[in-house]
Symmetry: C2
Subunit: 422 residues, 2 copies
């Protein structure tokens, strides 16, 4: 299989990628030119974006827009990125979660709520960066395989950008996520199989078809950088300070590794004080290959066949799983997993305490937070952040049997009184 898509331009105009200077192999350090490549030509390791950052100040960032482009100097995008039509994601709420903290016995807790992004998940961040790369590389089609949230984000971003989108989803996906993509594009394609099957098909198409930019395949290095903005925002919204502990859901594992990268960059640039922090990963038991490896104390991750209500985390063979293990262990964190029932409870717990309606992925993160406290793996005296990556309206079925009206009454005051509601 080729490591670069045919016919997307191999190079782009000067400044197309901002302060990025190369793609660098995470395994062997080999550097290649910025372009539509995602695997190292030497060792087949994953490529990621390397930068040569100038000095950057808090003031420069604060003067930017209330979206991810305030961090454009830290992303592989041109300096005029705001001028190109995009969904303008990010700068979502960092909420103090005093009620949830009290409920779980944690001193100091925050929820980073990414469910209020344009298409209601963190995927709008990564897709915005992928779109920029696709545009700069002259792609004709903007595409993805997706468990749902990514499909929504790609279809919406493509519509706004006026580029043709083709979006591949597993045919058993929740209907709200299907409609939430199909409303934006006439080329939603349902594939018989699970996410790993859909992903494999996308890799084949990326290798064969002219000018297709698959956001999480051949422009993946650019795409993945978008997740760094979650780390930047958390630090900025805490008053340019890193949290002590952070709990992040793990699907491919990319988001967790990129938040870690973001924290490292902020330290390196002197934008926050250097300090230790612990990173925890959250998985569902029905798809917990990284948590299983973490608990077993091994380095190899054994792929699993996903069986969980947390479909947006249902990646059985996570590309960045081994890096998640490294980071959790190196920072003194952990990777934990919870059952589908705990996930459902997590959704209702977060909603009832903080007024945030999360999807199953956020239910997983909330439930893992609870389990980390109960098992003593999390230090409850330290400042902790959890990331809510998506919106509960997308996975309504998870809780629709659990919550509902307390009573149905006729429209009269007597009926109100009789129902014991006064």
């Amino acid at each position: 299989m080729s490591t670069a898509a045919p016919e997307i331009q191999k190079t782009a105009r000067d400044g197309a990628f901002g302060n990025a200077v190369a793609l660098s192999c995470r395994e062997c350090g080999n550097r290649v030119e910025l372009g539509p490549s995602y695997a190292c030509p030497e060792c087949f390791g994953p490529l990621e974006v390397a930068y040569d950052f100038p000095a950057i100040t808090h003031e420069e960032i604060a003067a930017g827009p209330a979206n991810i482009w305030r961090y454009k100097a830290l992303l592989p995008v041109p300096t005029d990125i705001e001028q190109s039509p995009n969904t303008e994601p990010g700068f979502t709420r960092l909420l103090r979660a005093d009620n949830l903290a009290r409920e779980l016995g944690i001193a100091d807790l925050w929820v980073k709520d990414d469910s209020t992004n344009p298409t209601n998940s963190f995927k709008d961040r990564v897709v915005a960066c992928a779109l920029s790369a696709a545009r700069e590389l002259g792609a004709k089609v903007f595409a993805c395989p997706s468990t749902g949230n990514l499909a929504n984000a790609v279809a919406a971003a493509g519509a706004r950008a006026g580029i043709r989108t083709v979006v591949f989803i597993p045919s058993n996906l929740e209907q709200p996520k299907q409609v939430n993509s199909a409303v934006f594009t006439d080329s939603l394609v349902a594939v018989e199989g699970n996410y790993d099957d859909v992903n494999k098909l996308a890799q084949e198409i990326a290798a064969e078809e002219e000018g297709w930019a698959f956001v999480n395949v051949n422009v993946r290095p650019f795409y993945a950088e978008g997740s760094k903005t979650l780390g930047y925002e958390i630090a900025e919204q805490l008053g340019w300070r890193l949290p002590d502990q952070i709990v992040i859901p793990v699907a491919s594992g990319s988001q967790l590794t990129k938040v870690h990268k973001a924290f490292g960059e902020l330290i390196e640039l002197g934008l926050v004080e250097d300090k230790p922090y612990r990173i925890f990963g959250a998985q569902a038991e029905g798809c917990g290959p990284v948590a299983t490896a973490y608990k077993a104390g091994v380095d190899a991750i054994r792929p699993v066949k996903p069986d969980t209500i947390a479909k947006s985390l249902a990646i059985g063979n996570p590309a960045d799983g081994i890096y998640v293990l490294d980071i959790a262990r190196a920072t003194g964190g952990a990777v934990e997993q919870v059952t589908d029932d705990e996930i459902r409870e997590g959704i209702v717990l977060l909603a009832r305490t903080e007024g945030v309606f999360t999807e199953t992925a956020g239910g997983t993160t909330t439930a893992v937070l609870k389990k980390l406290v109960e098992t003593g793996q999390l230090d409850t005296s330290l400042e902790t952040v959890i990331i809510n990556t998506g919106h509960g309206l997308k996975t309504l079925d998870a809780v629709s049997g659990r919550v509902g009206p307390r009573a149905t009454i006729p429209a009269s005051y007597d009926a109100f009184e009789a129902a014991g509601l006064a």
Copy 2:
């Protein structure tokens, strides 16, 4: 019927309402003390908040948070409002809508997208202001009658604030909106009847029960002020400038009147240049009492029994309808209405052109924009803004029969090619 709820405190601490100084009757100008009153004791006209504004600068506003509290000096809230747990709504995207503009033949078009608020509608703005008033007045229960979006917002805000919520909805409401409220509160109450029936019940309860703050009944004057922030944000995001034309959906009519009030305040405070602007109202034909009166050239609004898919606009007897008529006529705007089919088309049109998935209310606004162009009521050479008030995930049924996967294929490249997708 009493015009003030019993047992909510009649007065509050100094500074509880910021720069607000009184409640003033919209009809006779009579002033009463700031408190849980909503109808003039002299003439029963609607009360609204009156202020004594100090000088306010662009810089002071820009230094505030990226939510509605950046405008706290212009709202009936205390100066430390950010410290009280709330959903932190607002400062949503104002998107340039070049694709939609091209499609409709408009020179200069923007979409103010309020679907990315905490509970995905503009109601989070008004509820945040009502919550502040309820808190300052010592309310024990935070309640509302609602067509759905308001229920979501009240239930979420109450959960975060740790105040008991009781939320009344018509029993035939879309299930997503029901779950999206029930997930936050154990006191969602389904009422047999339409919104007007539910509203009447709420008024009875507000008059009888101790310490209940009904956001849109007895603290309505405070609540309604929240909609002004839409006007402030549009002006600020345009670079402190008013648009030439704006299209706003009409349910009770409150939002439209408050955007007008906001524009007037900004002019009065010297925060924008004084200039003419036209305000247009958007209704569904199945509930278009204001549009009907506008077209008939009469001042009286005849209540209707709603029958439309735009349930969040289905208020048959709109409280602020006569003021909407006044404003549309005085500014050179209009009030227009569209069919349910046009609403469905409006939803898909906005999604396919701008990547914004709106609910039926936004479909109404988009379809009315189209109709205003086609009928020559809107000047296509002028800068125009439309407001998207809520999220399409809440009214999926409206489009789920219209959009869907283009194909379902096996997970193979051959199948991809055979489906003609290459």
